[in-house]
Symmetry: C2
Subunit: 557 residues, 2 copies
């Protein structure tokens, strides 16, 4: 019985983990205490006029976090046993930011926001961070975006104790860059509406773990909150209320806020399915609007799909997409394409008549529809993104540039890769944050979530991005994301259903696979507790007893 005393002693002596998330590609640490000087500042090595304003703002936010975060080390004594060390530690008086030579003062430096929306393959997020034990720190990068990522890392190096902001692990040397260019979070604002501040808070949280894409599933069959220039009737008739809309000003606010945090906003208008709400202003374009019983016409109520075979509807959709492309600076644009219900079209006289007139099958009509809408996307200088059914289920011959989101199952990754198409991991069996909350259909006593069970952070974290692809297909994998469909989510539980779980894919696709959950958990606790310090309602993943004792609540501990 004495044997477990030694285990307990180990916990007491346990060093606080270095609370970095995602873990850097290269990290070396020492064991020297270092604390921030009372007058600590972040400065640029270059003349200030060369520093983009959005990067200056990011510096100010980082400085504020360093002051406001009161994250104590997650160990039993919360760091108290290091008190003397901390008080007598050398101080760090400043962090110096510098662009590498290639991007030096002689040429115009691109803003962080420009970098953020430059598109996959055109972003350099790499940075180098050196914190010496004698009190100097230097952050260098080729781009404003790289410096921003490094600032985020710098903000995670510190714990708080008795008013001191400290690390016990100087010197710290980090060389870092992401393994995958696409790291995302999908938010559905149609099933339930989220006010702009909720989205901004989510963007902040995303940026803290280096997630660089908000996939905004902005409209769906349930509501149409987006005010689209020239198509205002859609939100006038389709938003839940006149308050529950995103105006052009709101969108600009959101995409600007996102870009200044290194995040590109990939908007989606799901077509031709998931469009019931359009019938409220354009019944002529929608087949089977609110048809009953809904389960015969759609995967969830209300039913209703764009009349994909009707030239007038193709024209309408193209115009709508064209207008939407002008609202979003992103080089990506999603036309959706999931869960197209054949029965809805079979029962729709207009669609049957259109198909007869053209002599096309439904899938041929879909190919024409997608072809037309994608030309609009490309005409706006953007790359089309679709859900997996478009190429896989309907064999639509999409252009080689098209990016495919794999959602139904991670088993379908290989099929997309075989078509030579680039893909984003978004599989429901790993990445759906809404699973496990019970069925939401009203009168179903024993109904479970369709994608039971709940997807834990461990599940997402353990995903292998290359499973399903051959070595010569690896370049097709752009990254991945977790997704929150909001049938049972509103502002009340947005934070708590997303965080800290969505940090799992953030690390997976930044740091690369192979991280083990055992060593990740203490750092993820740091993420959750730090998020709470910063006003994001992340949940505790375990009893605090476990959070304070790394490893003690592992299955074999």
């Amino acid at each position: 019985m004495k044997s477990f005393l030694s285990v307990f002693s180990i916990f007491l002596l346990f060093s606080p983990v270095l609370a970095l998330w995602p873990r850097p590609q290269k990290l070396t640490t020492g064991s020297t205490p270092l604390r921030l000087a009372p007058h600590f500042s972040i400065q640029f090595s270059d003349k200030k006029q060369n520093v983009p304003k959005d990067l200056q703002d990011a510096v100010r936010r980082t400085a504020q976090h360093l002051k406001d975060d009161k994250l104590q080390a997650l160990v039993v004594d919360r760091g108290a046993s290091s008190s003397a060390e901390v008080r007598s530690a050398k101080t760090l008086s400043s962090l110096t930011l510098a662009f590498n030579d290639a991007s030096s003062s002689s040429k115009k430096v691109k803003s962080l926001s420009e970098d953020a929306t430059a598109g996959i393959g055109n972003q350099d997020e790499s940075y180098s961070l050196q914190v010496s034990e004698d009190g100097t720190a230097v952050l260098t990068a080729n781009t404003a975006l790289g410096l921003f990522r490094g600032l985020t890392t710098f903000g995670q190096l510190w714990y708080e104790l008795d008013g001191e902001t400290y690390t016990l692990q100087a010197p710290i040397s980090i060389e870092d860059s992401p393994k995958y260019p696409y790291r995302g979070l999908m938010l559905d604002t149609s099933r339930n509406y989220f006010p702009v501040p909720d989205i901004k808070r989510t963007l902040d949280a995303m940026s803290w773990v280096k997630v660089n894409h908000l996939h905004w599933h902005v409209v769906d069959s349930q509501s149409f909150p987006l005010v689209v220039p020239g198509f205002e009737e859609l939100s006038n008739n389709g938003a839940y209320s006149s308050d529950q809309v995103y105006t052009g000003k709101d969108v600009k606010d959101i995409v600007t806020y996102a870009a200044a945090r290194g995040i590109d906003v990939l908007v989606e208008i799901d077509t031709p399915g998931h469009t019931s709400v359009i019938a409220k202003s354009h019944p002529e374009h929608i087949a089977c609007p609110e048809a009953s019983p809904w389960s015969q016409f759609a995967n969830e109520p209300p039913a209703g799909q764009l009349r994909l075979a009707s030239p007038a509807t193709v024209n309408f959709t193209s115009g709508l997409i064209k207008s939407m492309t002008s609202m979003f600076p992103s080089p990506l644009f999603s036309t959706g394409g999931d869960e197209i219900n054949a029965n809805c079209y079979e029962k729709d006289d207009q669609t049957q008549s259109d198909l007869n007139a053209s002599g096309q099958t439904l899938d041929e009509a879909l190919a024409s529809f997608v072809g037309a809408t994608h030309e609009v996307v490309r005409g706006a200088g953007k790359t089309p993104v679709v859900w997996q059914e478009i190429p896989l289920e309907h064999n639509v011959p999409v252009g080689n540039d098209t990016i495919v989101m794999v959602w139904i199952s991670s088993q379908h990754v290989g099929a997309v890769a075989e078509k030579g198409l680039r893909l984003i991991h978004a599989a429901s069996d790993y990445f759906y944050l809404d699973c496990g909350g019970g069925g939401w259909v009203g009168n179903n006593i024993n109904g479970n979530s369709w994608c039971d069970p709940f997807k834990t952070w461990q599940k997402a974290y353990s995903f292998d991005p290359l499973n399903g692809t051959t070595p010569d297909q690896e370049h097709l994998v752009l990254g991945g994301q977790q997704l929150i469909w909001t049938e049972q989510t509103g502002p009340s539980n947005l934070d708590s259903i997303v965080w800290p779980r969505a940090a799992a894919s953030a690390e997976l696709f930044w740091s690369g696979p192979g991280g083990d959950v055992k060593s990740a958990l203490p750092r993820l606790h740091d993420v959750a507790y730090r998020f709470i310090e910063r006003g994001v309602r992340a949940i505790p993943l375990q009893p605090r007893w476990c959070a304070l004792r790394p490893g003690a609540c592992d299955i074999d501990a």
Copy 2:
């Protein structure tokens, strides 16, 4: 294809549901619009000096809710089509409260708080509420508690439209009383800590759906936040931090706040298991403290159980319980008793030596332990409450007064009833709010919640309180509760994991079984949306599209 237009039309014409939860035993409504007068007031028929202060406070809170709740009818037009009717409706200028003759002014009226803590069988929660169509309203009851329940109902009668607070369903006549005397919610404040304001907000929410017991699982193996007079060392060493405690003042604040809302606080100190944390100040009383691997010594980490066979430990526990009984006015007190781990005692030399000395088996020693602690409970004038294992698994011959909580499975109800013991439904297969959130043990990639799947509100709502009992055992069923164990819950997600789900058992045990989920859901949406109006972060159970269209998202709609 035209057929579904008629369904849609029905939704448009749908009357707003009368947003009562739980549904009253007798309810009749008319179809006359009525609105609150601008100077609407709540008054007592009797002289004011006979009205208890806590009831006066409740009246003020109700009046404030009537002003502040901006709950629009959950129909597509949010009530707008009734605008003319509402504007021209008669006004209700006051609600008059009166005690029935039996409790009239000649005798001292008990306070709401006294009623709330009077104990099972000693409470009269019945009331009668009459709202006429000509603008008068009368609420009568035998007790302050009855008037309070009626006030709560009155506060749910109204929707808001253009600044008017109205109903379309006057006259309204209600006769109401609960089917079961115990309607509870269990909160665990040991796995993670909840500040007093979170508990108070929860008490408010409970009172809005007439839940009358907070089962406070205040301490457990992970932390000991309760400051117990004479046993301060337990919280000094066992709380997560010196801030994360409930002082005597906090407890008084909580029980007073609860009682003034018709809620009795049933505190639990779980014994002899779930007591690891006591080893931090009294290692002499705890077997297998933090033993490793924990899975051999406990159902979750950390292991540690009171040395139930040791006279010194029995004495210590009795003293601790005695002190705790003095902190809580409730006539109920739980000594816990779940998940006692035999291996922990088998490997504990002290326990083996104690058993050898007394010649008792482990279960005999447990019977002595429970007998001793229950005598302390009874000595304090209270009724002991235990988890089901005490009588079922360990055959402890508890007194006939003992109340048993059935938690492992609803299948075990009959076994408790066969012993002639009163019981409270708390079964994990219906009522556990934490199920379905994934396994929380650290390094377990495919770990699911042990009590998967998620328990939906429909599941709890569909429970039959009499399933498992014979007609002559029905009197043993006191009621039931939903429970939130907080391994994965903190202040961030307390509201959202509990509400509106916990309203399911509130209605089940107030109104009685047999309610159908189809007609309940629209009213439950009202609960959720009203809670949000009042600052409780209830979640949307469905897309708002469904909430606005009663029945439209049923499985067969």
